[in-house]
């Protein structure tokens, strides 16, 4: 059990019971707010859960389930995932998808299929297969977008199209906004994990006086 006490300008000092800080930090990482719930700081737990999960899920929706994925392919090092994964469990399916697709297998939870990059009709390369543009003659391999899976097919290192460029084409600024929301959600949860582990960064009256001097 770890308790910290903050002296106040007026009234009784504020005491925060951190219980087992390591466990609280782990829970805070797994589910935003869970660490605070474990410590009995229920109001803050609800606030963190609603704010962080809210913007994470909103961002995931804006990016149609494609903004959170893990990848280390040349030309597609997904550094943003290091931020997104700070949201814990909700970002972990991306790891399963990464492992699943690493040797070219189809992802779990397929969202749509696309024509491959070598499809004879250039205007349909990498495009989504829809009832309007479906080619009944074509029976070759297709590219499959998966929920939280890396973009299928080759990654273009130049200006040639690839699936990632089609995601930007299909979802426009929603894709960027989704990426921003999910990345910021992860960064905010770093603050929450810190708060669960060592308590709030309260400025005490002594620190205030030192700052004023």
């Amino acid at each position: 059990m770890t308790e910290i006490t903050f002296p106040q300008d007026e009234g009784d000092p504020l005491t925060v019971d951190l219980k087992h800080p390591g466990i609280a930090a782990l829970l805070a990482w797994l589910i935003p707010g869970a660490g605070h719930f474990y410590q009995g700081r229920k109001g803050k737990a609800v606030l963190f859960f609603v704010c962080i999960m809210g913007i994470f899920l909103f961002g995931l929706g804006l990016g149609r389930g494609r903004v959170v994925y893990a990848s280390a392919k040349p030309g597609d090092y997904r550094w943003q995932y290091l931020c997104q994964v700070q949201c814990g469990l909700v970002a972990l399916p991306a790891v399963a998808q990464w492992l699943q697709t690493a040797d070219g297998k189809d992802p779990f939870f397929v969202l749509c299929e696309r024509y491959p990059g070598n499809y004879p009709d250039v205007s349909l390369q990498f495009k989504k297969i829809t009832p309007e543009n479906q080619d009944p003659q074509y029976s070759g391999p297709t590219l499959k977008d998966g929920f939280m899976a890396p973009p299928p097919g080759p990654v273009s290192l130049g200006n040639d199209p690839d699936v990632m460029s089609m995601w930007y084409f299909d979802y426009r600024h929603d894709y960027d906004m989704g990426l921003l929301f999910t990345t910021v959600a992860g960064l905010l949860n770093v603050l929450v994990i810190y708060d669960a582990a060592v308590g709030p960064a309260i400025i005490t009256p002594l620190q205030k006086r030192l700052d004023q001097q």
């Binding site: 925060v16 803050k44 606030l47 910021v184 960064a201």
Partner: protein, 75 residues
């Protein structure tokens, strides 16, 4: 003066008319609340800190908007 600058920032942001700007609102609110809650423990202090952060962020965005807007005129 602070209130005027905030008003200017909000007016500037809304005057943009771009749909994308509305996406910033939930993000700014969430960031302000989480920031406030990691610096305080009591609800009133969290809300006060959050409002202060919200105003600061909006003012900062307003200043950046004004700079870019003026730079557009100078082109």
């Amino acid at each position: 003066m602070f209130e005027i600058s905030t008003l200017l920032a909000i007016t500037g942001l809304l005057a943009l008319g771009a749909a994308q700007i509305w996406y910033s609102i939930p993000l700014i609110i969430a960031v302000s609340l989480v920031w406030g809650a990691t610096r305080h423990e009591r609800l009133t202090e969290i809300i006060t800190q959050s409002i202060r952060s919200l105003i600061w962020v909006l003012t900062f965005m307003g200043i950046i908007f004004a700079l870019i807007f003026c730079a557009g005129y100078l082109q």
